[in-house]
Symmetry: C2
Subunit: 141 residues, 2 copies
């Protein structure tokens, strides 16, 4: 059964190329970091802070495409942790109600998830959550 998590912290460090976001279990205390690039972290940070750029940035364009194609975001699921790297699926609901799963890096999927209203739920499989908590190397996403 996947565990719902939410973005709990974004740690930006300008002198490093590696940044960290933390996901915490909704209604729980289990939390784990995902190491992402500075560009992806800045995207998430800007979006959490509600910054609206004059032109659509990359993740806004993605939202625009999905809206134009009459689909909607359903959820994000972090499905795998392999070789210190997380893998995720972005789930979309098409206008005929079919749900489609598309391979995504967690960072892209989370950048989209955090700015929708209501927010798109983020899940992690119990297996990945256990592996994440046991991993001291801070895998990338």
């Amino acid at each position: 059964m996947p565990v719902q998590v939410e973005l709990s912290r974004i740690i930006l460090c300008e002198i490093s190329e590696k940044q960290a976001i933390y996901l915490r279990e909704v209604g729980g205390i289990r939390e784990f970091p995902i190491i992402i690039g500075i560009y992806e972290a800045s995207c998430i940070d800007r979006r959490v802070k509600g910054y609206h750029p004059p032109r659509p940035l990359t993740h806004d364009l993605m939202s625009g495409i999905i809206h134009a194609l009459e689909a909607d975001f359903e959820s994000v699921v972090i499905t795998e942790l392999v070789d210190e790297t997380y893998y995720a699926k972005l789930c979309l609901r098409r206008n005929d109600n079919a749900v489609l799963e598309i391979d995504s890096r967690p960072s892209d999927a989370i950048a989209i998830a955090v700015t929708r209203s209501p927010a798109i739920p983020i899940y992690v499989t119990e297996e990945v959550l256990s592996a994440a908590l046991a991993d001291n190397n801070k895998p990338q996403g």
Copy 2:
């Protein structure tokens, strides 16, 4: 009548945050630069060079979404040059043949366009091309 252009040069400079791509008229000599960020320039450069990352990067995710929603890329049109900034439309063809235009930065649209096979045509309106050639400030895109 829009003028078809193609990516003719990517100038990457690691000590600057501003990079340049050049678009040249297909079958002609008119050429103009668009100043873009290092992240966007690196994306375009990687894609032109055929680098296939193990996980889908942001523009690959966008292609994945469009494919999953049974649409296809039709063209890119650079439509405006206002206050030293270019604006573009990413045109998609839906499976019912309707063509949809979505606001995009030229850099995102071109990152997608350059890697499709066959390549997605890139157009610029004659008005924007004339303004670009007359502008010595190298507007951003």
